[in-house]
């Protein structure tokens, strides 16, 4: 198991639905081949089975390590395009307010467009339960010890969700500013959420995430008077890493800035 984040193969991903206690789908094979291996303690390699007569040769692969995930992500993307579904992948550290933001955003969008949600967390259906109350289709992906969603999990989840054409699909990734940046899910755009309690140097500390994102939402601006957070500096840091990054400031709690955010989504939905 990876010491830094706990990415591991045991405890493969599971799909769950709020209000359906027995409902339970194992994702048998994850993009990373998740459940076909057992880990040991990494003892020294054993070279003894090499035969003297054996011949070795080099084989050229020149293959992107994430090829399998990327191919599947493209299939998801094709599915979204065909159905005119606008898929957003929400990324952030744990607790920046992704679920709260969705709880506040969905009712605003729902009067014009259908919305569905895929929730990613290592454990629990807490976030899916919160979304379920809003009355929109939602499915929870429990990644087990995995620290990110991958394209295979989304592919499976799509088969279990009733998605409408011309709709918005929000995918809330596992709270983690590192790993989810590497895994394309097939989304149209990536939205990174950061909150004012996290420090304005976050973009510099996690450049890969901000490099990959299309939109950054600064959340919890209601707390700005109480914390030492320079929103302008944070934005400068983020834009230094990614010149194309769009920027919004909101408070999911008070509703400040949510009108601009709603407009942003509806513009994208209408462009399609």
């Amino acid at each position: 198991m990876c010491e830094t984040c706990g990415c591991s193969t045991d405890g493969g991903a599971v799909l769950r639905k709020p209000g359906q206690t027995g409902y339970h789908v194992h994702i048998s094979e994850s993009c990373d081949g998740s459940d076909s291996h057992h880990h040991g303690e990494g003892h020294p390699h054993d070279h003894s089975h090499h035969h003297e007569e054996s011949s070795s040769r080099k084989v050229l692969l020149e293959q992107d390590v994430l090829l399998k995930n990327n191919l599947l992500a493209e299939r998801n993307r094709g599915f979204f395009e065909a159905r005119n579904i606008f898929a957003l992948n929400f990324l952030s550290s744990p607790g920046s307010g992704k679920t709260t933001l969705l709880e506040k955003t969905i009712p605003l969008i729902l009067s014009h467009f259908p919305v569905a949600v895929i929730e990613g967390d290592q454990q629990t259906t807490n976030d899916a339960d919160r979304i379920h109350i809003l009355g929109v289709p939602v499915i929870q992906v429990n990644t087990g010890s995995g620290c990110h969603l991958d394209a295979m999990m989304i592919n499976r989840a799509l088969k279990e969700l009733e998605l409408q054409n011309n709709s918005l699909l929000c995918i809330e990734n596992v709270g983690n500013l590192v790993c989810p940046a590497m895994f394309d899910l097939g989304e149209a755009l990536k939205v990174v959420v950061i909150s004012v309690t996290e420090g304005d140097d976050k973009p510099l500390k996690y450049p890969n995430m901000f490099h990959e994102a299309d939109l950054c939402i600064l959340n919890k601006i209601d707390l700005l008077p109480y914390v030492d957070f320079d929103a302008r500096k944070c934005r400068e840091n983020a834009v230094r890493i990614n010149h194309h990054l769009e920027w919004l400031e909101v408070s999911a709690k008070t509703g400040e800035g949510l009108d601009v955010w709603q407009q942003w989504i509806e513009n994208k939905l209408k462009q399609r």
Binding site: D32, H37, D46, H49, R57, K58, V59, D64, M182
Partner: protein, 121 residues
């Protein structure tokens, strides 16, 4: 980080290729991991040995080439080494830098063992 799931996908990809080639085992892997790819080679090595256990790649030696980050200034077109995404152009101080190298993350080649040669005449 994500090195474990990455290690597993590498093992899966090379095992598939090795089987296609009729290999008995994989003795070497050449990876290209750019310095900006967001992957720690040491962590990857550690995870790889665990991920490869019981597979054709169990005894494989992992060779990792780490190309340096190279940025290109979008204002003056200068090219220079970078170690971060937020580099500054040493010529004109612009912050509008495009990364032209260092983000690579690929499996370049594998060395396969084809087993005993049985036509001893």
């Amino acid at each position: 980080m994500h090195e474990m799931s990455i290690a597993l996908s590498i093992v899966e990809a090379i095992e598939t290729k090795a089987r296609e080639e009729g290999a008995e085992s994989i003795s070497g892997i050449d990876l290209v991991v750019g310095k900006l790819a967001g992957i720690q080679p040491d962590s990857l090595r550690f995870c790889f040995s665990a991920a490869a256990k019981g597979t054709l790649a169990e005894s494989a030696l992992l060779h990792i080439e780490e190309p340096e980050g190279v940025g290109k200034c979008m204002e003056c077109c200068a090219k220079f080494p970078v170690s971060f995404y937020y580099a500054e152009c040493p010529e004109c101080r612009s912050l509008r830098i495009e990364i032209v190298s260092g983000e690579e993350f690929r499996i370049q080649t594998i060395t396969i063992e084809e087993g005993e040669i049985n036509n001893n005449v």
